[in-house]
């Protein structure tokens, strides 16, 4: 059963990583506009042309 000493901390570390990710996303306001985020995925390709114009 001594394998538990390795596996339990490993499982908890993974869980903590997930929670930390969630809290980080929350702090960065990523849950404020879920609708917009879903739509924004479609936009990226036009950005390159715009950046080129600005330079």
């Amino acid at each position: 059963m001594s394998i538990l000493l390795l596996l339990i901390p490993a499982a908890l570390a993974l869980g903590l990583l997930g929670m930390a990710g969630f809290l980080w996303a929350l702090k960065r306001n990523q849950f404020e506009d879920l609708e917009g985020a879903a739509q924004r995925v479609l936009f990226d390709d036009a950005d390159a042309a715009l950046r080129a114009r600005r330079q």
Binding site: L12, G15, D33, G36, D47
Partner: protein, 794 residues
């Protein structure tokens, strides 16, 4: 993606060659040979192409017209916050339809070299702007947005709203922590349970319990805070609420489990305590968020009354912030401006679009002496107003206040599960206490095993089945309704809707589709229609647009058509004057009152011709009303529209009881009156004038075509043109009430079996786990039967 629009945008030459031409920017039909419907669209198109953002025309959906361009004079400077060389401002953007609008606004702003951040939220319709350098740049940036065809308003964040958003966020954070803890502790608990059957050693079990405790205690201390705080404040005021038994249960379960763990006992209930908190937090977060949306959209309305106003003084016209405009001041209003104050007209003749305030779809002519309200748009010509109310004292401010009050009233609604819990919790606590004392005094047990039995009683009666009984039904009902295009917004709406005996309908946009259509096009020789459409082409009035649409493609424009404010269109041809507009304007004898909107057309050598328009009923309105009547529901129409229009809609659908010309306050009063006389009211409406009534009613529905504020005020939003959503919603409500009661009964039966076992000390955690998951599965399975329910027809 609309290839037609895209190709038009790409090659104007193609557009000019086509018979049915569309405006290159907003895609409204234009005269053959024209590229744009107005100079505003031409300007917006040039700006978009100049910035290299042509892809906008490919991104946006077919034929979605963007808002009209207007000049608005706002002192933007006041709303800029400057810190460390960076400026920041928040704007409300009005007139966004889709993802393409979002993309266009953001990219047009980012093209400016000083802009660091430009982000539009599709959910709240707010734009956050950050830039380096001069704060005065805001004028230019806001100008860019309005030249694209979106109206923008400055936003001053208020303290209440920020507190609300902070609360939402902290609930979400607590939910995340509870979710993490619940999943990990459950993992450990499952191995402990299987260890009871297998051969897990004491040492391993104690380790599992210790790890569970290390996770559970901080998680409970943090995620339980919202409940502990609310319970403490209730107790301090000598009252009790749902959070008191929840807090006691969670704290007691944790304390007992901790004592067990320290003494190397076999039972620990950390998992039950944390999982309970997690489920409760999900519900609480969703409720808070729905309320926050409704409050935010209501607040945005007030922004209309916070704009600078052009006030007439002895020294000429000056711009003044809205707060410094006094009652009795004289205000000048340009054509196309949104009215920022309540008042009456001193001079000028114009038409105003009051659809936001009164629900009336057609522009209303106004003349000196008429009252106008903040939020309406002055369409035709300049007006001078005398101010009667400003800011929060305006009609629109009153609507916002009423909505907030009604929203608080609704949050006092007592749910079925709370009613049960009110009796259930004391009984459970008392039973646990009695079994503890019983084992101590009569059963001669030591205090430790007595406490353990008491805890087992608490845990086994614990909320699992009870907490799941109602929410499981709600989730199943929501997903069933979603399949029929009805989106539930409030968790308690179904419960409130189950007892409905009265339904109040708005007319425009609810019973009807909300768009005028020419009804006497057939049976004409077509000549009048074609000729009148040539005049109508120059106007943006909804009736004129309907006329052009009825005339079909290929209407030729006329040079020199003149619009007479509040009257109609006029054109001098070779044979004399042609007129299209009001009866009086065209020289017709009298307006008829058959419930139709009308336009008159006169030309030399022919009698004035009358075009009749009607706002069509929803296709299944009559059937649906008949179905609702068959169920014995009392039906009522309350509309802000003209009496003849309301009468014809009410008669066509078969609703005997109707009232016309009802203002928002009177609508709310009518609902309150019905409720006071013991009726349970379902309100169906789509406009701002319905918003208070929607919030005040026991339950409410709004069509997806309604304005944001109505959708947010309503409990559920239905898609499409079918009114059948109303009986479907009621069916789902009744079915879910029936299932919720069944579920509570199941939970009760389970308790009747399990509690005596627990009191007898025969419940080990393994038995508890099996019994609890068994009862939960039963309850969830029963709720899922809703998914197979047939809705709408009895």
């Amino acid at each position: 993606m609309n290839t037609a629009v895209a190709s038009l945008a790409g090659s104007p030459a193609v557009a000019t060659g086509k018979a049915e031409a569309l405006c290159l920017h907003c895609a409204t039909p234009v005269a053959t040979g024209e590229r744009f419907c107005c100079t505003g669209c031409a300007g917006a198109h040039a700006l978009i192409r100049g910035l290299g953002l042509d892809s906008y025309y490919q991104l946006r959906a077919a034929g979605r017209p963007v808002g009209e361009i207007e000049d608005e004079r706002i002192a933007w400077g006041e709303f800029v916050q400057v810190s460390e060389g960076r400026c920041r401002a928040e704007l409300i953007v009005d007139g966004m339809h889709c993802a393409a609008c979002l993309w266009l606004i953001e990219h047009a702003l980012r093209a400016h070299p000083a802009v660091v951040r430009a982000q539009v939220s599709a959910t709240t319709r707010r734009l956050v702007l950050e830039w380096k350098g001069d704060a005065g740049l805001i004028d230019e940036l806001a100008g860019t947005v309005s030249r694209l065809g979106y109206r923008c308003l400055p936003l001053t964040p208020d303290a209440v709203e920020q507190a609300g958003m902070a609360e939402e966020k902290s609930l979400l954070r607590a939910m995340g922590v509870a979710g993490f803890a619940a999943a990990n502790i459950m993992l450990l608990s499952v191995s402990v349970w299987s260890g009871h059957v297998g051969d897990m050693g004491t040492w391993t079990r104690d380790l599992m319990h210790a790890v569970s405790a290390v996770i559970a205690i901080p998680a409970i201390a943090y995620a339980g805070l919202p409940f502990f705080r609310s319970a403490a404040s209730a107790l301090r005021r000598g009252r009790s609420n749902m959070d008191v038994p929840i807090s006691i249960g969670v704290i007691l379960a944790t304390a007992v489990s901790l004592a067990e763990m320290l003494q190397s006992g076999p039972h620990a209930y950390f998992d039950a305590a944390v999982t309970l908190l997690f489920f409760l937090l999900i519900g609480r977060y969703l409720e808070t968020r729905a309320r926050g949306y409704a409050r935010r959209t209501a607040q945005q309305l007030l922004a209309w009354t916070a704009q600078p106003v052009s006030v007439e003084t002895d020294a000429g016209v000056v711009q003044r912030p809205a707060q410094r405009v006094a009652i009795g001041d004289r205000v000048v209003l340009a054509a196309g401006e949104r009215i920022p104050v309540d008042g009456f007209v001193l001079s000028g003749q114009s038409a105003i679009d009051a659809s936001l305030v009164s629900g009336e779809t057609l522009p209303q002519p106004v003349a000196p002496g008429d009252r106008v309200f903040a939020g309406a748009i002055n369409i035709d010509a300049p007006l001078r107003l005398q101010v009667t109310a400003t800011g929060a004292a305006t009609l629109i401010g009153g609507i916002v206040r009423l909505m907030e009050a009604a929203e608080q009233g609704r949050s006092r609604f007592v749910r079925l599960s709370e009613k049960v819990a009110r009796y259930y919790a004391p009984v459970v606590h008392l039973t646990a206490l009695l079994s503890f004392l019983g084992w101590m005094l009569i059963g001669d047990a030591d205090w430790r095993s007595a406490l353990l039995i008491a805890a087992a009683v608490l845990i086994i009666t614990c909320p699992c089945a009870l907490a799941l009984a109602v929410p499981a039904v709600q989730v199943a009902a929501s997903s069933r309704l979603m399949k029929s295009g009805i989106l539930m917004k409030s968790a308690t709406a179904l419960e409130r809707a189950a007892a409905i005996d009265t339904i109040v309908f708005d007319k425009t946009g609810t019973l009807t589709v909300g768009r005028p259509r020419l009804v006497n096009a057939a049976g004409e020789d077509g000549e009048n229609l074609q000729l009148a459409a040539r005049l109508a082409l120059r106007s943006r009035h909804p009736l004129c647009r309907a006329l052009v649409a009825a005339a079909g493609p290929g209407v030729l424009p006329l040079e020199g058509v003149e619009e007479v404010p509040g009257q109609g269109m006029r054109w001098i041809g070779g044979d004399g004057e042609w007129r299209l507009g009001h009866a009086r304007f065209t020289g017709a004898t009298a307006a008829m009152s058959d419930g139709c909107s009308e336009l008159w057309f006169s030309r030399p050598g022919a009698p004035p011709h009358r075009f009749r328009f009607q706002d069509d009923l929803r296709p299944d309105a009559t059937e649906t009303v008949a179905e609702l009547k068959r169920r014995g529901l009392k039906l009522l129409v309350l509309s802000g529209d003209r009496p003849d229009a309301v009468r014809s809609a009410a008669e066509a659908t078969g609703i005997a009881d109707w009232r016309a010309g009802v203002d928002p306050q009177a609508k709310a009063d009518a609902i309150a009156g019905l409720k006071a006389s013991g009726h349970r009211v379902l309100m169906v409406g789509d406009g701002l004038n319905d918003a208070v009534a929607l919030t005040l009613a026991d339950a409410s529905l709004s069509p997806a075509s309604g304005i944001d504020i109505a959708q947010n005020a309503a409990d559920a939003v239905f898609q499409g043109d079918r009114l059948a959503a109303v009986p479907e919603f009621l069916d789902a409500a009744c079915a879910s009430r029936r299932l919720a009661i069944q579920n509570l009964a199941l939970a009760l039966v389970y308790n009747l079996i399990a509690v005596p076992l627990a009191i007898a000390g025969m419940v080990t955690p393994l038995v508890a786990a099996i019994a609890m998951s068994g009862s939960s599965l039963l309850v969830v399975g029963n709720a899922l039967r809703l998914g197979r329910l047939r809705l709408g027809r009895g």
